[in-house]
Amino acid sequence: MKLTRKAALVMAAVPAIVFITPVGTASAHGYVSSPPSRSAQCARGIVQGCGAPQWEPQSAEGVKGQMNCSGDRGDFAVLNEDNRGWQVTGTGTSLTMTWTFTARHRTRDYEYYINGTRVGYVNGNKLAPVDPVQHTINLSGFSGRQKLYAIWNIEDTAMAFYSCIDINIGGGGTQPPPTTNPPTTQPPAGGTWAANTAYAVGAQVTYGGAGYKCLQAHTSLTGWEPPNAASLWQKL
């Protein structure tokens, strides 16, 4: 222990000051994962260049009572831009939605709106959601291209979480443009490691001049480069 007594005293005094800065914010978050909401499309890369929603699709949070895909969060404003090439889901008059949550929070209710009309309501009974959370709503009386607002109203805060889903009622959907949705490709034998590639057990790649053998079937990701993932890749 080479710390001087003075340094130790100073360090002991520091935490009281440092803890004034709050670390992180309350994060009880969620979004509609299926059909793919605008947030989910940002996270999947179907629509690129979204900024914050790519990393935190669950965080389009704002005060209750809005009709706003971003919850009025400035860094989520892209979610309100109707001309970003959002994938449209074709549907009949019955539509089932699935929610993804990153933390649980007691729930007042879920609301669904088209053009200011509430087309769905599910009471949350002040309980935390239990997966899987799916709601089926009736879209009778609506047709064609519509923007559906899905809203998760929290029971014990002033906040809600907003998701927007582009649908075509009584019609077909659109497919994501192939160039913006990297397909998982089969690797050439003995090729250079690449991200977003399906590797089977035993597949061999080179990376940084070294050879590696795949130990666990997976689709590769940036961050799972062979030297960074010894449990996936054995160095040869």
Binding site: T21, R44, Q216
Partner: protein
């Protein structure tokens, strides 16, 4: 008076080098390579760290363990092959991360526990706990897949949030580099999970 307090605070921070920083005593510095020479080298965390680093690593230890538990259920019960492969890769890579983070806490002289309490303080009720994971064992077929995929997408999405906070507030270079990797890997997993969720 307030100005004086700020001045004193600034002086104390200047003396300490950086807010909340701690220094591991000499002789216990970075030494990452495990006793087993066959094992891949585990990056050691250097000796300078702050409270945000410790909190992030403690929370990630709990987070990794819960992800491993859920993956193990999916390895048995998932019906979609992509879901099963993803569970297998999450299981094995998170074990690797877990042993690395535990070695950092040991080096820093910090306990492994407390992550759940930190979650409660900073993020409300976490998505996963033993009860939720046990509950998935009662499901099967498409219902299991749907539950697993959405739980894992949410769980890994929460890791991105934690890592973004560490990137902003942490100071230990190995820990912030790990946070960068968590952001990239978990975002990639969320993308893969959402794709599988959307497939019939």
């Amino acid at each position: 008076m307030r100005r004086l307090a700020i001045a004193i605070a600034a002086a104390v921070l200047a003396l300490a080098g950086c807010g909340g920083e701690a220094i591991v005593p000499e002789g216990q510095g970075a030494h990452g390579h495990g006793a087993n020479s066959a094992a891949p080298p585990v990056p050691a965390a250097s000796a300078r760290f702050n409270d945000a680093d410790v909190m992030f690593v403690q929370m990630m230890v709990d987070h990794l363990q819960l992800g491993i538990s859920l993956s193990q259920v999916a390895l048995v019960k998932a019906t979609k092959q992509e879901a099963k492969d993803l569970a297998g890769a999450i299981n094995t890579t998170q074990r690797e991360e877990l042993s690395m983070l535990k070695s950092w806490l040991k080096l820093w002289g910090k306990p492994e526990g407390g992550g759940a309490d930190l979650h409660a303080k900073h993020g409300g009720q976490p998505l996963l706990d033993d009860e939720v994971i046990d509950g998935t064992k009662e499901k099967s077929g498409a219902e299991f897949d749907l539950t697993f995929l959405n739980l894992m997408a949410g769980h890994q999405g929460a890791a991105v949030e934690m890592a973004l906070a560490e990137k902003k507030d942490g100071m230990n270079p190995e820990t912030t580099a790990y946070a960068e990797r968590v952001i990239s890997i978990r975002q990639g997993q969320v993308s893969q999970l959402l794709k599988v969720i959307s497939e019939p």
